[in-house]
Symmetry: C2
Subunit: 158 residues, 2 copies
DNA sequence: ACTTATTATTAGATTATCTAACAATTAGAT
DNA sequence: ATCTAATTGTTAGATAATCTAATAATAAGT
């Protein structure tokens, strides 16, 4: 355990990277066990925010509308999702997560959230506020990088 | 800004989730711009840890050996990766990230790391240590959850 | 009203992945 | 020392996911 600040910063940086790597692998594992591919996972994760239209899903997970149609067919057939006509615009289809998705959340992610809350409870308010600020700062940096990246470089040829 | 501890813990939990979501979307964006699919990204990200055999890659990113062969064909053709025979075991093929992969890291992830380090430098050592501990705790929880999940549930039928 | 834009779907082509079989090599068992 | 069994990466053909393009229905703009 080195107490040099620069070393500490370096270690913290790699720790953050490993953590996010681990999170991604966890989601993958869940997908593997429940038979959900990357796009299915992204779609369900998006629907946690609330019902969405098919085209909103397409934009969010970067799939063509056609691919989303078949994706939703699959998810609907397995009970993860329900389609309902939008009453205000009859072109639209509102997609909502359904029973199977809620069961998955209850079985996998809810216990994780509970354990996480218990862990955070062992820190005091001042400490939690520090963590909160670091996260906010990190997100700002990443958001800015994403903006620049999206502006500068549109899809590169392969 | 509510100062109630339980509220703070709840907000921090969702902030962490959003952060990891944002990270995943960032990687996706990079993939979109550079024409790299999820498996390609996973493979390259794994190779950052050093050269690996084809079968190690297959295990890591949960692809069959056959799929890895074609995946590596693609990546090798575009200069992201190089295959070399393993001198100690002539069945094996060592895979190593190559020029295109390093350029991608330099162009995208290195600036992010620099900005992140500068951000962390604005905190003092005591604060950084707190963040470090929270990350370590979070990773332990997730690791445990992953172990239990992997043991309890092997692939569910679709 | 008429034209244009948006939304979701279908049909057919393309791409990624899988299953199964295989060839080369190494490890293990007497 | 051979022989058998296990490991490693590849190929060939089948399956699945995604894309492109065309279509039908609806909404918005003029």
């Amino acid at each position: 355990m080195s107490s040099d600040k620069q070393t500490l910063i370096g270690e913290l940086g790699t720790a953050i990277m490993r953590w996010q790597d681990q999170t991604q692998k966890f989601d993958e594992l869940v997908g593997h066990i429940y038979g959900l591919g990357p796009s299915e996972r992204l779609c369900l994760s998006f629907l946690v925010q609330g019902p969405q239209t098919a085209s909103a899903i397409a934009r969010e997970i970067r799939l063509t509308p056609a691919a989303v149609t078949t994706l939703l067919d699959r998810l609907e057939q397995r009970g993860y999702v329900r389609r309902r006509p939008d009453p205000t615009d009859r072109r639209k289809v509102m997609v909502k997560s359904a029973a199977a998705a809620l069961e998955l959340v209850e079985a996998v992610y809810a216990p994780l959230a509970i354990a996480g809350a218990a862990m955070l409870d062992r820190y005091d308010v001042a400490e939690l506020n520090i963590v909160s600020r670091v996260i906010r700062d990190s997100m700002e940096i990443q958001e800015k990088a994403a903006r620049e990246l999206a502006e500068r470089g549109e899809p590169r040829s392969r």
